[in-house]
Structures are given as structure tokens and as C-alpha cells.
Subunit: 221 residues, 2 copies
DNA sequence: TGAAGACTTGACCAATCGGTCAAGATGAGA
DNA sequence: TCTCATCTTGACCGATTGGTCAAGTCTTCA
């Protein structure tokens, strides 16, 4: 079970290990996000990864071990956009950029969004620590940025965390509720026209809601 | 298996049947919303309902039968608020009332919200028909209402479905992501102060985003 | 080339799950 | 009180699932 090489070489992974672990994680992301933790089976994950169940269990000691690896693999990239919110930039373009990044992630990695939503909806048993420490620090920090913008009179008054929640909710909604959106509109974020329409709607609503002029890209008049 | 009484008395349920079915549905709602369809077991549902597994299967023929009953039981009440959107009323108070209703439902019935989210995230296999017919008709109808408000110059221009999506996303977020919100803020919608703070933030952001003055309740100046 | 690892697999196991069945307990109407 | 339909349960079954194990195959490197 993943013994280290002799002479204590610490955590170096062979090429085969690296490839197989990433194939497993990719396959597991698909299964976990579609069927939830209980609904996903290591049989189907291993099949989707193109290997036997036994082989998957050679790389990960258990199902929950795979699950944790998938979550960890996703968390960083998932929370990254918020880190880029710059106190020095002007609110309109900073917030618009943040919303656009989140929308792009919903379009490009909807499974990641759904996996995250699934985990949180079940009480976040696996990532509670990350939420209470890393994410909380990050949100506190960025809340202060928003607070400063408010005090400087640059944006309308609002309790910062709720602005953050609103941005998360609206952007992730297009990934998490994709099937509902598709049932209602016949299309989804993978359609460039629909993507732009959604992005414009969310950006304009939130930025105008904050009393900002929204720096629309190709506005001519 | 729920045979009708002799002489074709149609669908009358005995008091015992009615009570037990509702207890089962209530217990099943809790389990399904917490653990998803696969994660919930009829053993635990029946235990939560205070009866044996066999007895549960006397009232419902299968696990999926229970699940369908729970969804049906919830769908009407869940989609009701949107129906109340009145074309004759003024946009600000109509939309504010709608948002408040949705927020109250997120506070009072978060399990219903999570169950619905779970079902949709897994591709809405059970309620696809309802979404594509009833809900689509409803959304189309209410989109026209919003469109008329726009054409009358009462609210800012926006593609109506995205306004509806935004309201759904923001309000349901407080139920679906409750554990994340609790990890970040230390409280949730069951706290009256937090509820009002959230409601104010969502209302003001969306209404201001539409160019509306928001009819705040206890504004004195 | 030839070990000594690393890698891969099918056979197998125990636990859990959804669901059946026969038999007993309870209730309501004559 | 008697009777019959309704209600309730524990014992049981087959299928699936997470996980183990021994044995075989492939890499790597001296």
C-alpha cells in the first residue's frame, strides 16, 4: 500500500502512480458528482478509470480515501477566484472579473461544483475543517475589502458576506441546477450565446444592485 | 398492497393509513434530504417513522415509491410562491414579496430545498416531466409578466429567466448551503437577526439591481 | 540478463440493502 | 362476541457493495 521507496525517499511518485492516481480522481469526480458519495461505487469508478477494482484499491486504501483525494484536488482551484479580489482595483471591474471567473468555472467544471454542493448539503463532514479555517479566513479578509469599498462610498451599503453568498449562489446555480435550466430553456452554459446571456444578467444585476456602472465589454453607445 | 375496498370505493384512506403514510413521508424527507436517494435506507426511514421496515413496505411498494411520494408531496408547496407573482401589482412589492416567501421557505423547510436540489443535481430523473411541463409553463407565464414590466419601463432590462434563476439561487442557497454558511458565520436562518439581515441583503441587491426603490419595512426617513 | 521491487488482476468474503412471505396482532362492524 | 379485513412484524433471500488476498505480470536497474 504505497510504501515509500527504500532509504526514505519521501513522497516521490512514479510516472505510473501519478498517471493512475489522476485517472482515478478524474473518474471518481464524475461518479461522485453524478450520484453522490453513497451512490457512487468503486466498481464503476474503476471501470471509468479503465482498471480493475483491485487496482484502484492498490492506489487508494478505501472509497472514502478516493473521495478525500477528489475533494482536496478540487478545493484549491475551486476557491482560487475569490483570492484574486484586489482591494486596490476598482470595485466594478474587480467584482465583474470575479463573477466572470466563477461563471467560467461553472461552465467548464460543473462536476466540481456539483461535488462541492453535494458535500456541503450533506453537512460538509469531510471539509468542515477547511471551511471553518481556510475559507473563513479568506471570506473574512475579502469582507473587509468590500467593507472598505462601502466606507469609501464606492458601492452601496450591504453586509459583505451576503454579497459573497449571492455571487456564489447565482454563479454555481448554473452548474448545480443545469438539468433544471436545460429543462426550462432547452440549453445550458456550454452554449456560448446562453453563457453570455447568463453572465450579462448576473453581472448587471449584482453590479447595478451595488450602485455601480457595469463595464460591459462591447458596449458601443 | 393498498387494495381498494370491495365495491370499488375509490381512493379513501383509513385514518391509520393516512397517519402512517404521512409519518413515513416526513421521515423519508429527512433521510433523503440528508443522504440523497442512494444514501438513504428504508431501514433508517422506517426507524425514524417509528415502525418496522416490513410495515413501511406495506404502505409503499418500494423505496423509489416512497421517494416519488415525498417529491410529489413537496413539489406543489415548493413551486407555489412563484404562482403568486401578480402582473397587476407593482414590481417592487411583488418581487419583494416573492423573495420573502422563498426566504421563509428556505428557513422553515430547508430539507425540502435540499431534497429538491439533490434530485435536480442528479439530472432530475424523477421530476423531469414536471419541470418540462408544469414548471416550464409557469416560468414562461411569469417571464412574460417580467417582460411587460420591462417594456413599461418599470424595471431595468434583463432576460426574465435569469432574474428568476437569480432569485431561486440566492434564496435556496441559504437552505442548501446551510452548513457552509454556519461554518463561516456561526449562525443560520433559524436566527431571526440573521434571517432579516439575509433577506434585506438579497432584496436590496436584486431590487436595486432592477432599478427599483426597495420598499423597506421599517424605514423612517 | 536476472532479481527485486512495482503493478495488476480474479477469486473470494462479510456486511448491508431492498424486498418477500407467512403468521400473528389489532381494529371495526354485525 | 364473532368474524374478517386491516395492520404489523421477524425471519429470510438474493443482489450489490466495500474490501482482502494470493498469485501472476511487468519495470527498472545493477
Amino acid at each position: 500500500m504505497n510504501k515509500r521507496r527504500k532509504s526514505e525517499k519521501p513522497v516521490r511518485l512514479s510516472r505510473i502512480q501519478e498517471m493512475n492516481r489522476s485517472r482515478i480522481i478524474e473518474a471518481a469526480l464524475g461518479e461522485f458528482s453524478r450520484f453522490g458519495y453513497s451512490g457512487a461505487t468503486i466498481d464503476k469508478i474503476s471501470a471509468a478509470a479503465g482498471m480493475s477494482k483491485s487496482n484502484l484499491l492498490y492506489y487508494f486504501s478505501s472509497k472514502s480515501d478516493v473521495y478525500e483525494a477528489v475533494l482536496e484536488h478540487i478545493l484549491d482551484v475551486w476557491l482560487a477566484p475569490l483570492r484574486t479580489l484586489d482591494p486596490e482595483g476598482d470595485p466594478a471591474s474587480e467584482l465583474a472579473a470575479y463573477i466572470r471567473q466563477k461563471m467560467r468555472m461553472s461552465a467548464e467544471r460543473p462536476e466540481a461544483s456539483r461535488l462541492f454542493a453535494n458535500e456541503v448539503m450533506q453537512g460538509a463532514p469531510q471539509i468542515r475543517d477547511v471551511l471553518e479555517k481556510d475559507l473563513k479566513n479568506l471570506v473574512t479578509e475579502k469582507s473587509k475589502v468590500i467593507e472598505q469599498w462601502i466606507e469609501a462610498g464606492k458601492i452601496r451599503k450591504i453586509v459583505p458576506v451576503h454579497l459573497i453568498f449571492t455571487i456564489w449562489a447565482t454563479t454555481q446555480h448554473y452548474a448545480d441546477f443545469d438539468s433544471q435550466i436545460r429543462a426550462l430553456t432547452g440549453t445550458g452554459l456550454e452554449d456560448p450565446a446562453f453563457f453570455e446571456e447568463a453572465e450579462n444578467a448576473v453581472c448587471s444585476l449584482i453590479l447595478n444592485g451595488l450602485g455601480l456602472e457595469w463595464p460591459r465589454k462591447q458596449t458601443t453607445s
